[in-house]
Symmetry: C2
Subunit: 437 residues, 2 copies
């Protein structure tokens, strides 16, 4: 099957483990099959491949997530990068044209679209596969997944089917209701709209061509900033009359807040954490290399990262967004395609960074105008290139990089570097990237 995974959002509601450049889907909170922790993106990708080893997965996302996806999923997955944030219709249209033009998917093949967020069991992806098969069969232009509601939620849109059959024509859509209305809808057999749907590729490519004049993927990519911000629901779903819904009754959990996230975590603690015997219903995630001791904590979530520390009553944690926006601050941890970096000290005229490079990977060849840098190699070996001159380095070596020097480092083995940045105006913008001749 062909799947487009929509990976968006900066996820301020899972601060401090998500931030402006690290979305919640990359936070490793779940126990994977080999006992190691995996992120939402890793879990979803593993689940899809378990259901269909031949599934072609394309992740539609923004530039800021590419490094983390490559780091976590490697080079096999294909990524369709939105050059700007638009809404879901432009993102899906671009991905559809990408499948056609770059991936060579036939216009008659079915494609399923899923958000990357929900926490689900493997049966969910069996259902996604069935959606694709229904789209292949061609009985409707659009086939949606409808989740059997477990309570009258005010957070989801509802789909009212014509019949109670497993697959039914859609009678109508309802916006997020209040609880009373939700009960009423459910009594009429309504299903939650999970934002999952399948269609034949040609169907969506046609719609894209009707909405914007373009010639192939590269042209659409360049015209992306001229596209209207509009959701797929408004642009496509609500205008389509040939539309059906398939029921899904398995577990399906939105994990957009800490309160909901802790419900699906398989362990109460991750990292160096000690809970005393009087703690109850408390979850602690500690990404730092220091101990967290919790005593007498009830119904709490505690999350510790280089970006901050959250200590919250679980209920209350759902209201964190305005506080997190107020806190702001520099991002202290980031995953890159070549490894990761962590800011370990900030002073008025210096930043100290821990850089980890994966074997065989390298930084981009780059220079800074306003800062000098000093690298102390603390583990591994590799090769530095400075202004075209290459030399081998190993643990214990010190490399000084004056402002304006072009430099990179290539890891032969896993490489750990302490980088001290020195200057009066240290910013992420002060970086020029070059190609290496």
């Amino acid at each position: 099957m062909n799947i487009i995974l929509l990976s968006g959002g900066s996820g301020k509601r899972l601060w401090p483990l998500s931030n402006d450049i690290r979305s919640k889907q990359f936070t490793k909170l779940f126990k994977g099959e080999n006992g190691e922790h995996e992120s939402m993106v890793q879990r979803v990708y593993r689940q899809i491949k378990t259901v269909d080893a031949d599934a072609k997965v394309t992740i539609a996302t923004s530039k800021t997530q590419v490094s983390a996806i490559r780091n976590q999923l490697g080079d096999d997955v294909s990524i369709c990068v939105e050059p700007f944030r638009r809404d879901t219709f432009p993102a899906i249209a671009l991905a559809a044209v990408y499948l056609q033009d770059v991936q060579g998917v036939g216009l008659d093949e079915s494609v399923a679209v899923c958000p990357v967020d929900p926490f689900v069991e493997n049966t969910y992806y069996d259902a996604v596969k069935q959606l694709g098969e229904l789209a292949d069969a061609g009985t409707a232009n659009l086939t949606l997944m409808g989740i059997e509601p477990t309570y009258p939620s005010e957070k989801y849109g509802y789909i009212i089917p014509e019949t109670a059959d497993n697959v039914s024509k859609v009678k109508e859509f309802k916006e997020k209701p209040d609880e009373e209305k939700a009960k009423d809808y459910i009594s009429k057999g309504a299903l939650w709209n999970a934002g999952v749907f399948a269609f034949k590729l040609g169907y969506l490519v046609d719609i894209a061509h009707k909405m914007i004049d373009f010639d192939g993927y590269q042209d659409l990519f360049e015209k992306y900033d001229t596209m209207t911000k509009i959701s797929f629901d408004y642009a496509v779903v609500e205008k389509e009359s040939s539309i059906q819904v398939m029921r899904y009754a398995g577990d399906w959990k939105d994990v957009g807040t800490w309160n909901m996230m802790t419900e699906v975590m398989s362990e109460n603690t991750i990292g160096k954490v000690k809970l005393d015997d009087t703690c109850e219903n408390t979850h602690v995630i500690n990404e730092l290399d220091l101990h967290v001791l919790c005593m007498g904590c009830k119904d709490m979530v505690i999350a510790v990262s280089n970006d901050g520390i959250l200590v919250a009553d679980k209920e209350q944690s759902s209201y964190m967004k305005p506080y997190v926006e107020e806190i702001g601050g520099i991002v202290k941890f980031a995953e890159k395609s070549w490894g990761s970096y962590t800011v370990i000290d900030v002073q008025p005229e210096s930043y100290t960074i821990k850089v980890n490079l994966k074997p065989g990977h390298q930084m981009k060849y780059h220079s800074h105008q306003y800062r000098d840098e000093v690298w102390t190699i603390v583990a591994g070996r590799g090769r530095v290139v400075i202004d075209g001159a290459s030399r081998r380095v190993k643990a214990g070596d010190v490399v000084t990089l004056p402002a304006e020097s072009k430099h990179t480092i290539i890891a032969e083995t896993e490489l750990h570097i302490i980088e001290v940045q020195l200057g009066q105006d240290i910013t992420v913008e002060d970086k020029v990237v070059y190609s290496m001749e």
Copy 2:
């Protein structure tokens, strides 16, 4: 007046702001007169000097606290260092002989002894001064302070005076009682024993000579390890018949646990902390350079340092000791006489340290056998000496220090250094100190 301040203990009950080398009395939790935060030791010293600007203060303490005392109080205060931990009698005897021999205090002058721990108002030191005056008057060999009890505590010893006068002969002493007995003592006019007393210097020097054969301070210092571990109460107070007690009715608080410490803190938060509107009776102390966000916390104490993170119900926090002993771990922050150091990264074969040197100060001239070091100067200027050769350094300079090289750095201005230690066996013990020719 002459005051001996007893500064002991490693204070595991205020983890993570106290640890094996940083006692609770050096943690800056109180608002000082100029609005800056001050530690217990700084507060006590300021209070004594407010009551008596000419007071001669000697701190009796262990080697491990000398750097922090010098850092916080400067060079004016005199310090009597116990070469080993013995109990309070040896410590006070050594300090008494130090006053006589090193400070030149006359044997007929009075000396008051106070623990550095309790949180008190200035009137307490007025009372200490009066104790000294009573000792000067010579109506008894020992004059004790008795605190008017505010509740039948099981944590303190009791003094039963002969009369209800402000100053009275002592009838008898009682060990820590249960609550029923405490009520009974209080009904008989008993007072809490605060461990504060005054005597003429000659009185204690005589007792010291009776208990051990020594000739002057240096000799007693060298024989210190042969002295019996015994408390001042057992060795002196309980054997003395010429003994009186003076009442004190002001505020007097033991702040040995977080629950009690938070009662006397003037602010609910220290450092980068945000409490939402639903937090109640919660105190947060954050020494790290990242934000702490608290939501819906009730009756909690949260303390964050390089040594760890405590999130505790206030009541429950009193039981932390066994957990803290289990956690153990390396000490990541220490105050030195020349400034401070903070461990910011630990890897299998490297430590990265942030070193701050105060202007005019320097490290000891030293070498390491098993590790190389790399200094990147990130702020200030100074002078390094390596194997006898001296050179000036400033922000931006890099200094490499191979194993076995003798080295030091002298700060001309405030100096900030990122030090990367590299080796397979990095320990604090791997250090040889030299004198500089």
